[in-house]
Symmetry: C2
Subunit: 312 residues, 2 copies
């Protein structure tokens, strides 16, 4: 964290809000069996960065500031979508870590879900996290009649989130990655970008888009935020790959160098470390330019700085 103190405080407040909202939205016993609730909670509160929900809240706030609306009200409208996307992100980690997929035993410094709860329950906990995301999106925010098109915004959000998470988005990206690993195949630069655009990019873009949609963004604002988040998602992935090469396992909370050891395609492997760093910086520059052109700001530029400067 080399961001300014103000951004740091803003991020901390948002993280706290997201964590509180996530705790409220999780199903609990007796309606939900104990072990499923426990397995869901285990991975959801494992110290994630909350990048995606923060992006949703920041996009909503930036739209409100641009439209001279209330940032607080805009964030409140976007909070359920922010949480839903974190539920989906968490499910994807639980399933990706399974022995039949990436076979990871360590995540965020702790044993992965299936190591603790067993494979069957880990699959079910992932399924449940994904499903609860849509229950939350359908219910919240409740319609109190103050926003005429609230139901339409919610349906649009659900469609955007489902498309990003589904077979043409995140699940598709993981399938491409799995297939390549299974065949011992590697990607060229274009293939690598296309895979990541689905696997990690789609949900990051959806986070920013749904924040903007829930805040009532017009088409130019939505377009600027879409460009920003596409560049941000790519920068995030490049930095992830760099950290996998450079970072210590203790910082990362996962096994460093694992991707390279598994022969997985990474940006440093394709471009080298220096060029990878340059590529990430160029992505952020384009992200900021897209915001500037539409006079959208808020905390979005600072979040781009946070993504590229992070060490874990």
């Amino acid at each position: 964290m080399t961001s300014t103190p103000d951004v740091g405080a803003w991020l901390d407040t948002r993280r706290r809000e997201v964590d509180e909202a996530l705790a409220r939205c999780l199903p609990s016993p007796p309606a939900c069996p104990d072990r499923v609730a426990e397995a869901m909670r285990y991975s959801l509160f494992a110290g994630g960065k909350r990048l995606r929900p923060i992006l949703a809240l920041a996009a909503a706030e930036a739209v409100a500031q641009h439209d001279r609306g209330s940032p607080d009200a805009a964030r409140a409208l976007a909070l359920p979508a922010a949480c839903a996307i974190e539920l989906i992100h968490t499910y994807s980690l639980v399933h990706d870590d399974l022995p039949a997929m990436d076979d990871d035993t360590l995540r965020r410094g702790r044993p992965t879900n299936h190591v603790v709860f067993g494979e069957g329950l880990a699959i079910l906990a992932g399924d449940a996290l994904l499903t609860e995301a849509f229950a939350l999106l359908a219910r919240e925010p409740a319609d109190d009649g103050r926003i005429a098109d609230l139901a339409a915004r919610k349906l649009r959000t659900i469609a955007v989130v489902a498309d990003a998470a589904g077979a043409c988005g995140m699940v598709g990206g993981q399938a491409i990655d799995l297939d390549a690993a299974g065949r011992g195949a590697s990607f060229d630069a274009d293939g690598l970008r296309a895979m990541h655009a689905k696997k990690t990019g789609a949900l990051i873009r959806a986070a920013a888009a749904t924040g903007a949609i829930m805040a009532g963004a017009d088409a130019p604002a939505l377009d600027a935020i879409a460009k920003y988040s596409a560049e941000l998602g790519l920068a995030f992935q490049i930095v992830d790959d760099i950290l996998d090469v450079e970072g210590a396992s203790a910082d990362l909370g996962k096994t460093a160098g694992k991707d390279a050891a598994a022969g997985k395609p990474t940006y440093p492997a394709v471009y080298g470390l220096d060029a990878s760093r340059r590529l990430a910086a160029e992505c952020v520059a384009r992200a900021l330019a897209a915001l500037d052109a539409a006079a959208i700001a808020g905390q979005l530029p600072a979040i781009a700085g946070w993504v590229i400067e992070r060490t874990s």
Copy 2:
């Protein structure tokens, strides 16, 4: 099929409509990677009975007949929900068949998804089927302005479906079943009923409820259909257990006697075969009484007959 010729024709027509709509809603290459699309299609078009979508369409039609509306229009409103629920039912079969769960290699007479595509892709295909269900529910039917509260009906449907499929519903039921199998534990009669009410009952109830909601059912009609479908779901499960004992593998398309061999709790094991048959008939009688009391009919009574008389 011992139903009357008319009901048989009605069922065939509905199945064809559902199959066509399902084929249209599946993602396809190039946006969706080939193998994921193929794995989704493999299990979705494996000759399922389409009980859940048929129930959704029958509930919508019955509501329209009760309200002197158009059965065709009501079914068209309910068709996306009918398909979404079949997508979810299919995903649940793919995941339940996995080695970490029920470890089944045969389903509907064909090798299970993970046997053909591998465990990793089977997990992803299930995830994608679940996710596409919500994309479909959010988008369709498109709002042409003719039904003032269509967006509200769709959001309510999404919430009902997500609750039925999630940790307090179907996923929770599978977790209870998995936990009992893992501990070698057996259920008493109440435990068995509670487990099935979640594992298979929740989605069957949701199918009927969403059909009714999309058709604009009032509270008394919704209530009658809820009672009907709760009884029907239980009857369906009892008959399933009876068929597992009595049926030949060829008829069932899965390994007969497998539940009993695995020490899984079944109705015949707890009550015996004769009492199980009687219990199923009593469920159907209560289902029909609930419909009668609210003057709801359409094809719903005939579907109850089909469920209890089926041989596979």
